[in-house]
Subunit: 117 residues, 2 copies
DNA sequence: CAGATATATAACTTGACGGTTATATAATCA
DNA sequence: TGATTATATAACCGTCAAGTTATATATCTG
């Protein structure tokens, strides 16, 4: 079994989850979107499966991967104990959060620039 | 710079944060509590520092480590997009969460059983 | 100053991770 | 049936993480 923390540590897997949040996807679709080889994607999907963060529905040779957000509750629960501390000082943090979001967005752009050959 | 995801992936570091949530602690205190060598703890603290999750106050030879929860906001933000999905199906998940908590508690017990030699 | 105390850093080992290419498996299609 | 399509698995490689022991650094104490 793989913990939700282990599943989320890799940015590619977070991207996959974000993509699956929009809609179920085929493996090949994810390959097209993520600039990683097909076996690489399959390996990530295996990790997500073993963390129970996705479920699969087979349809002929194709596999539809679908989000299963339940395990995120554990993370949310852990975070909960910190949330009061956070909201206490909330004013100080607005700035911080905006910075982080900018950084993340930047990185996602980088990911996307798959050389189109 | 170390991401909050990287910082949280290690269970020992999550325990350290939990301990610092209660109160600031000395390195030696954490060593006593965690069954890892002093350099091991110092390395974890360095990671937490580079993730901006702790701050240090020096007092003679001692170092007080204190929680800095701000970076957790980024994680909370990421989780936010999934929270609606989660609450939608909330009834199905109670059971799941309880299981996870039991597992975690079990593991923490294991951590604590430092052979007292 | 010499020793003791508290912590950090260096160097090393081991194992796991994330990527790759090559291949196996399984279903569809002609 | 043989070729094609879609995905998973195997084998391998380089990097890094987490632990260790040994040592450096810095402060206090006698």
């Amino acid at each position: 079994m793989i913990t939700v923390y282990e599943a989320l540590v890799d940015p590619t897997r977070r991207r996959i989850l974000d993509l699956l949040r929009e809609q179920p996807r085929l493996v090949g679709e994810l390959v097209g979107l993520l600039a990683i080889s097909q076996p690489g994607i399959s390996k990530h999907l295996r990790v997500l499966r073993e963390a129970s963060l996705v479920k699969v529905r087979q349809e002929a040779q194709r596999r539809w991967y679908e989000l299963r957000p339940e395990p995120l509750l554990e993370l949310d629960d852990w975070l909960g104990s910190y949330r009061e501390l956070l909201t206490e000082r909330f004013d100080r943090l607005d700035n911080y959060l905006e910075q982080s979001q900018a950084k993340e967005k930047e990185q996602q752009e980088d990911d996307k620039v798959k050389s189109d050959d």
